[in-house]
């Protein structure tokens, strides 16, 4: 519902006027200058006008500037990220953020997963070493911008946690439950906070 209405192939550059604030709401790539109530573009790209959803109090269409190039991915609160664990300590694990959403970052960002953010239940009894090991690839959600040094990440959901890990023998482990993964070469079981991979399309296996 609400297909985006593409304006004629007009490219806009930063600073170009897109319309008046009384007629348009600025979306991504646009902003309102308060002193003259005009909506300007802030990125280079195509102007896209999204009609307002029915029933919303504000009936002005949203104008966005999309396509061409937006700056490289930057972690934002609420976005799902893929990170590689670098350090595991008693109360937190440090990870390098590699992808934000589906885009990879150009240069890594640092994130930390605190003990209370590893899972949703029994958060004071979490053992960091049974949840993550250095080198694991985890899927996490960005809680907040954190402090000067790192973003705060959380794996406290079923679908978040370790996605891929290597066993001590060097093989990629197979998840067997939400706390354990098994090495296919040696059969050894190792403890991790495993992410539940969502149901695949052919999920009608009895």
């Amino acid at each position: 519902m609400g297909m985006a209405e593409v304006g004629e192939k007009d490219l806009v550059t930063p600073g170009e006027v897109l319309g008046k604030a009384s007629e348009l709401i600025p979306g991504r790539g646009a902003y309102v200058a308060p002193h003259n109530n005009t909506v300007y573009a802030s990125l280079t790209g195509r102007r896209v006008i999204i009609p307002p959803s029915l029933g919303s109090p504000d009936q002005r269409p949203v104008v966005e500037v999309t396509g061409h190039k937006a700056h490289g991915a930057v972690p934002e609160p609420g976005s799902i990220v893929i990170a590689r664990v670098t350090k595991v300590m008693a109360r937190l694990a440090s990870a390098d953020i590699l992808c934000v959403g589906s885009k990879s970052v150009r240069e890594k960002f640092t994130g930390i997963i605190r003990q209370q953010d590893v899972r949703a239940t029994e958060i004071d009894k979490v053992d960091m070493h049974s949840s993550f090991r250095p080198g694991d690839i985890v899927k996490a959600v960005v809680l907040s911008l954190g402090d000067a040094r790192a973003y705060y990440l959380s794996t406290a959901k079923n679908e978040l946690g370790v996605v891929s890990a290597e066993s001590t023998a060097g093989a990629t482990m197979v998840p067997i439950s939400w706390t354990e993964m098994q090495c296919p070469l040696t059969g050894q079981i190792e403890q991790r906070k495993v992410a539940k991979i969502g149901p695949s399309q052919s999920s009608n296996q009895a």
Binding site: V17, Y31, Y40, E107
Partner: protein
């Protein structure tokens, strides 16, 4: 220098310098521009984005003999030592290559130009759109043919737009030199060495706002007005050229 041994001199007199002596300004004759331009004519501008693959955004500008390349990296993680900030940071660096000046010398980092570039750009970038991270702008002047800083500023703003950093508007810059009673726009190296004063304006053309104004030398009010009008006019024309350069690059990459 004769002086009593062991006694420090009470006055300081600089030793005679035998470098190039500035020739007196011709007030009667009119200056003829070496490259044949009129006084109020700018050099033709060549601008191109996407020159550097490794950078998030980049631009190359050639205004006559002034050749500048600017790379933009970011937004990327700030150094660990920096304090937390809920708006983004801008870090600028302008350096000259060893072969940029007519006399080949040491490539140098221009601290002054770096901070002027920072002041010119920070008014235009929407820093709130990338909190906690840093955008690095590195400008390299490959050949210095006069009017370096305005070219660096315009090129840097193009590189930032190419990198997809959110900006309120593009930033265009122009400078005017005062030689006697004449005002010359977009001076070259030789004209800059004879100038009595210079005025540089960086402005955001479509919003008609000035982000930086720098004046050196002696100016009367009327002259300042005239020079500002010249510069603003040149900036708006340069702004149009910059926009068409960006649009060309965007439509070329779409196909």
């Amino acid at each position: 220098m004769a002086g009593a041994t062991g006694a420090t001199p009470t006055t300081y007199s600089p030793s005679p310098v035998s470098k190039t002596i500035k020739r007196p300004i011709f007030s009667e004759l009119d200056w003829v521009r070496p490259d044949g331009r009129a006084f109020h004519q700018c050099r033709p501008a060549f601008l191109k984005t996407g020159a550097v693959n490794a950078a998030a955004g980049s631009a190359y500008a050639e205004f006559g003999n002034t050749k500048v390349i600017v790379s933009v990296f970011g937004p990327r993680e700030s150094k660990k030592a920096m304090m937390y900030s809920d708006i983004g940071r801008l870090n600028c660096n302008v350096s000259y290559t060893t072969f940029a000046m007519p006399v080949r010398g040491q490539g140098s980092d221009h601290q002054e130009f770096s901070s002027m570039l920072h002041k010119a750009l920070e008014g235009a970038i929407i820093l709130e759109s990338f909190p906690k991270t840093t955008v690095d702008v590195f400008a390299l002047v490959m050949e210095s043919g006069g009017s370096d800083l305005p070219v660096v500023i315009s090129c840097a703003s193009l590189a930032l737009a190419d990198a997809g950093i959110m900006m309120s508007d593009l930033v265009a810059a122009a400078s005017v030199s005062c030689l006697g009673t004449n005002l010359l726009i977009d001076p070259i190296c030789e004209e800059e060495s004879y100038q009595d004063g210079s005025l540089m304006i960086t402005c955001m053309p479509s919003r008609n706002e000035v982000t930086q104004l720098s004046v050196t030398g002696e100016w009367s009010t009327a002259k300042v007005h005239e020079a500002m009008e010249l510069c603003l006019d040149a900036c708006s024309k340069l702004g149009k050229i910059m926009r068409s350069c960006l649009k060309e690059a965007a439509s070329a990459s779409q196909e």
